[in-house]
């Protein structure tokens, strides 16, 4: 009787888990294994190919364009992660305070997350290319008169602004949920104990939301490292490849440039880099995570 009940339970379990495993394997694991296989070939994306062993990996470390794209991606990811987390935390603190229309404001601030990356990119491209230069001319501000996206030195800042604007929404929501886990009476105890708002934040609030900081750091770093939509819609990796991210390079040269095998090797390395980054971040923050 008991065994029959268990088998029914197990049937339900497997009927739920098998489709998910299959989907994950077909759309994730199999392409990844395929990618790893092609990274050992000189496949162009069409025609025949030969096995080249680790040659693609050796070439990767000597390719200046790849190294440049890594440098851009790291710079973009580090600046983006810091900016997003600082801004989100400030915003979450404001939206968690006793203010009117709190729920409505939270909804409004979440809108950037609902819009697609490309849509936002094209809107900002219009703003950077037409609206801001027009305003620059109108108000006679010289540095605003040229589109930031056309400057090899500063185009990455334009991409960064868009990336941060969009990423802040989700990160803020995660921080708000983190702030709501801090019991109200702990804040009251801290007020009675004599904390100023500043001390309260650093000594009470921040240590208690470290698990959420940790999640946000990993998520934002990963998302910023994989920047693609903003590059495609804002700069197309220009000017002079100054905003070429790794994902964009893999896509562009892998599919368009006849470097499918070579860029597959790049994708494998990139995957390892992201995993390592996440593990290191988790290790650092998990030491400080505290249970409420």
């Amino acid at each position: 009787m008991k065994r029959k009940k268990m088998s029914k339970k197990q049937k339900t379990y497997w009927s739920i888990i098998i489709p998910v495993i299959l989907l994950f394997f077909v759309f994730n694991t199999w392409p990844m294994l395929n990618g790893f296989f092609y990274s050992l070939t000189n496949y162009k994306g069409y025609g025949t190919y030969e096995m080249v062993g680790m040659q693609n990996y050796i070439d990767l470390f000597q390719d200046t364009r790849v190294l440049k794209s890594y440098l851009f991606t790291f710079k973009y990811a580090i600046c983006g992660t810091i900016l997003v987390n600082v801004l989100s935390l400030v915003m979450a603190l404001a939206l968690n305070a006793k203010i009117r229309c709190k729920s409505a404001l939270r909804g409004i601030y979440f809108v950037p997350n609902i819009l697609g990356g490309l849509v936002i990119g094209y809107i900002f491209s219009y703003i950077f290319t037409y609206i801001l230069p027009s305003l620059g001319e109108l108000w006679n501000i010289s540095w605003l008169q040229n589109s930031i996206l056309s400057s090899p030195a500063y185009a990455w800042i334009g991409v960064l602004i868009v990336g941060v604007w969009q990423a802040v929404a989700m990160t803020t929501i995660i921080y708000i949920s983190g702030l709501q886990t801090v019991p109200q009476d702990v804040y009251e105890a801290s007020r009675i104990d004599g904390s100023s708002k500043w001390t309260e934040f650093w000594k009470v609030t921040f240590p208690l939301i470290i698990p959420f900081v940790s999640i946000n750091l990993v998520l934002t770093t990963k998302n910023f490292m994989m920047v693609f939509d903003q590059i495609l819609s804002l700069t197309g990796c220009g000017p002079a490849q100054s905003t070429e991210s790794i994902s964009f390079l893999i896509y562009k040269n892998g599919l368009d440039g006849g470097q499918f095998g070579f860029q597959s090797a790049n994708a494998v390395i990139f995957f390892i880099v992201i995993v390592l980054f996440s593990i290191v971040q988790q290790q650092i923050t998990s030491k400080k995570e505290e249970q409420l």
Partner: protein, 372 residues
Amino acid sequence: MSEVCLTHINKTYPNGYEAVKDFNLDIKDEEFVIFVGPSGCGKSTTLRMIAGLEDISDGELTIDGKRMNEAEPKDRNIAMVFQNYALYPHMTVRQNMEYPLKIAKLPKEEINKRVTEASNILGLNMLLDRKPAALSGGQRQRVAMGRAIVRNPKVLLMDEPLSNLDAKLRGQMRVEITRLHKRLKSTIVYVTHDQTEAMTLGDRIVVMSDGEIQQIDTPENLYSHPANKFVAGFIGAPQMNFMDMSIEETENGILLKKEGARLALNTEQSRKLKERGFRQGSHITLGVRPENLSIDQSGSDQKNSLEGTIDVFEMLGASSNIYVSCGDQQIAAILPAGVFCKEGTPVRLQFDLDYVHLFDPDTDRNIMADQA
């Protein structure tokens, strides 16, 4: 000196709800005052106003003669123990106790001295390096008290500090708090809905209902001379029995009548009733505590007794409770140990008339406690 004066204190929320109405109380130095009442009566709100965690809508709060209405909680020289302990989860016991002292920028030696002293008093020495998550409820409560007392506050506020503990631990902690008060000689304001805590801990008790003070008195007086029906019913377990009786004037004094009961009041009680204008035929609410009822086994004095059927018999060990159906009313009585009753059997309850209370049915005021 740590005196707290609340003068005409009111708390009205933006939606118009009046949580506390015209609260007046002078708390003396070293006094242990209890706010007691049912949930939502405004006791915690009043405590939070003293702490500075709630704004005072109207009235004046002074601590040691200084107006504190606008002062920040940290500037009131108070400490508070919360219902859910409110310990900092990421800090060890030692860090929790050190925190307010570090904020006050006390020298390291002084901080160490005070933490050691408090942990000695509260038996926390072995727990100093643990975090709150690794402590039991009773231990957390002690840490919360430790964090409060290290500051040597003028006033110690406690908001239902024992309500999350089991009955046994609550009893132990009650004794510890009494000891702590005797040792520290601090002024304590303590909120509870538990009348046992109120009666055992307090020098004075403030009974509240619907945001209003019902009575401020010593535990003995609250029990023996409740000001009104609410206080009489709130203090004591099982609660006081109330019966609607009609008055019959006789040559020997006043008789209270109800179906199946005739109670002859004593001279003092009769005089008070007459002074208050209660005459033949008028009604009165009689209150009698379960401990002032006994089982009349002889049946000799049928005049001051009431007949009924035992509904429920509860054996408590040191005593027993019986609940007796008398017409449409249920009367509770406490019997001494060794007396056993069978449910469903008829019984005659004898009144100890010297301890009955008489309430005006219109105002619910205690006629015997009121000044004539």
